[in-house]
Assembly symmetry: C2
Homo-oligomer: 137 residues x 2
């Protein structure tokens, strides 16, 4: 998968990397169990320091998206825990987003249409919870 950095962004580089990998997993561009580039390889590829890549991997590891194994490198989790609730932070973020949309005059249906668009890009129900068992390599 290709990581593309937005240079003028206020989002830190390590978080941009983390975000793009999470979207990649959700949309099947990164398969369960797939090997990610080494910290040094990815750092050189996108022209940044390897410790910044490591910081992104540390975050992904802590959040349960990937598994790091010394010598074996970094791999995408095989299965993900089903947690049928958004985090309080995410809920507040969504609340905020709806409020701003509402002031701009964006209707509920317009907002939901956008949500549907993004859900259509992601993998089908249960794909990452283990009901599908994709063959790898």
């Amino acid at each position: 998968m290709v990581i593309i950095l937005q240079d003028g962004s206020d989002v830190p580089v390590f978080k941009q990397i983390r975000n793009q990998i999470v979207v990649g997993i959700s949309e099947g561009k990164l398969l369960p169990g797939e090997k990610l580039p080494t910290v040094r390889a990815l750092a050189e590829e996108i022209g940044i320091n390897s410790m910044t890549v490591n910081k992104a991997y540390q975050l992904l590891k802590q959040e349960g998206y990937i598994i790091t194994d010394k010598r074996n490198g970094v791999r995408v989790r095989e299965k993900f825990a089903s947690i049928p609730e958004l985090s309080p932070e995410a809920k507040e973020q969504l609340h905020q987003m709806v409020s701003e949309a509402r002031i701009r005059g964006i209707t509920r249906d317009e907002f939901v249409a956008l949500v549907d668009e993004y859900y259509a890009s992601s993998m089908p129900d249960g794909y990452l919870q283990g009901e599908y068992t994709p063959l790898l390599e």
Copy 2:
């Protein structure tokens, strides 16, 4: 309207103030044309520096939510421009949010239910675009 600061938050204080005021406008807790506290009054009320409040007001002003008038203080905009599109940043944020929800196993319907909940808290269609003309003072 009461501003409540989350002390352990990673969200900067000036942005917490800005966010709560935006939500307040969307949900009718702040009426169009309503006067906001002075920078010094709000600063003392929540125990922070007045320049931090000013920073929040500057942002709200630049985003078109409020109007500052020397000597007259700060007031909520009367009418808001109808812009039937989320900003690219907001879209990307929503995309990110859907991706993370998807990995957690949260379905489209569960996500939309949350959106509906927040839309139910906000004012009806067109309220802030001037079709309603609320009486003030």
